[in-house]
Symmetry: C2
Amino acid sequence: MTTLMEVAQRAGVTPATVSNVLRQRGKVGAATRERVLEAVAALDYRPHLTARALAEGSTPTLALMVSSIANPFYPEFALAAERAARRSGRFLIVCNTNEDPVMLRAYLDQIAGTLSEGMLVMNAKVDFEVLRKTQARGTPVVLCLWERPETPPGIPCIAVDFAAAGALAAHHLLELGHRRIGAILAGGLDGVQAPRYEGFCATLKLENVAHPDSEVRFTTDSVQGGYQAAVQLLDEHPDLTAIFATNDLPALGAMHAAADRGLRIPEDISVIGITDIQLARESRPGLSTVAVPTEAAATLAVELLEALIDGKAGGNAPMQIAPVPVLVVRASTGPARRKKRRRQTAERSRGKR
Amino acid sequence: MTTLMEVAQRAGVTPATVSNVLRQRGKVGAATRERVLEAVAALDYRPHLTARALAEGSTPTLALMVSSIANPFYPEFALAAERAARRSGRFLIVCNTNEDPVMLRAYLDQIAGTLSEGMLVMNAKVDFEVLRKTQARGTPVVLCLWERPETPPGIPCIAVDFAAAGALAAHHLLELGHRRIGAILAGGLDGVQAPRYEGFCATLKLENVAHPDSEVRFTTDSVQGGYQAAVQLLDEHPDLTAIFATNDLPALGAMHAAADRGLRIPEDISVIGITDIQLARESRPGLSTVAVPTEAAATLAVELLEALIDGKAGGNAPMQIAPVPVLVVRASTGPARRKKRRRQTAERSRGKR
């Protein structure tokens, strides 16, 4: 992308002059003006809003609190939120709370209302009292990716129907003939990913497919966590034909665990996750997953926060619902093993005739 | 980790009371004091510096400018820098410049000296004039991961001998018998990754191994970029037995490209990268790479920045050199193809006797 600086260099003027020409302010001679506009045209420069804010010396900032910057989902969300914030000329700063409520509180106390006009908070281990205090001091807060649209949290938020995501994953595996499905839940039954597991379980129940407690493992939201959980599941239940994980990172770990014991994916075991992070697309085999509307949710979150800042959001604690999650089928899921073997046997006997 | 809040809840007091007891300040009754200390002991609570800063209402902050938050190396560096910053009770905020010099300048103008006492800058496309202006306004700046220790940039920095990293990668491949090695350079010959490629080329030259210009591809620092570059290299030079990439992301892309055309890694083609991001450890096969001292460099950067803030850094533009990069051999590199075939043939003929 062409920058103001490059235009200035080409035209042989200062960036301030370029800015003056573009905004029709200040005194700029006709010849200089022409040189600048020529450079703008030659370089196809499009002044963006942040350049304008920069020139005006005021740069309103939003802050995004993430619980773990090392989890690749958060940078992806941050990037989308930043894109949305820049549309209105705002900057985004990212604060990593390392899943520590004290850190979250400290960031909110220090940054809200001083550097940042508004706070986007990812809701892992959030203390609602702290958020309410921030609001009470006059700084709007938006909870991003609230996981239970059916029960609004009483704080402005963007909700994602994560139970539907779990249900979609379960449905996909059932359609492929899987009846013995292990589950990996990142966090616990009271954690932010629990609704995904609830949606998965409800779908299995509807279809009368058993899912005993012994076939779920609780772990951390990481590749390593998923790996260890899958090792246990595959050790104790070798008849499983599929593994559902509540997030892509543990799903990728489950794939590695299966590969390390020589199981073929998806011939011997299918694996599915939730989120559709970049890694899901780039792994081999590609990970089937249920895509969360990251881009749309980030945009909605920024728009809601900006509406709150401008006093234009309706209601006390508006909740907006992001588009529904969507199943993305890649190479990590296929027909259940038993069925496949039967078919192969049938083919072999046909071949003999 | 136990938090102040949890201690307070267990003791039935406010967090402020817990803080007062721990810091022996304020008036706290003996019975309350005992309850708090009991809770501290029971929960094994260790007050950290940030909690102390929080209690004192002053939270000094450092800012880290990264050029691409979506590149997983940066969050890893940010996490290490944050850990270092917290040791002295400071917070770290992360700003993503999206490789846009205008954004970097805007962040520096807005954040330096207001919210942040000092700035850590990752040096992709950095305009040194802008950094000098920030310094001139009284806010220390540290350039992280300066890639040419032999030519200090004139701005406080942490240098990493990236040419040595490239040399180590080349040496490893040469030792395995590779003589036909393709290269993928993320960025151009004038980019921040160029010294890695220079180190690689110098080592090949020393060993009289040819590396014509037709066997290097320039691409973006991404899995996708590496994929496309590797497809071209493998199409045009099917006799290559190894690929060196100047970073792990394009190296992972090269592995995918090889896998997608049915080449076995490392039997048919070896792949090596530089950095040792988490993905390198978690891919299958694991990626051989040259590990950059991320943790040490981040710690040095924060320490240098803090010394500058405290007026304790020696010299005008101190440069500290991080520990040397280290070769990490995983499953993606092995003996060169031709050698292997010869050996296999020999084994086969032995078998016939």
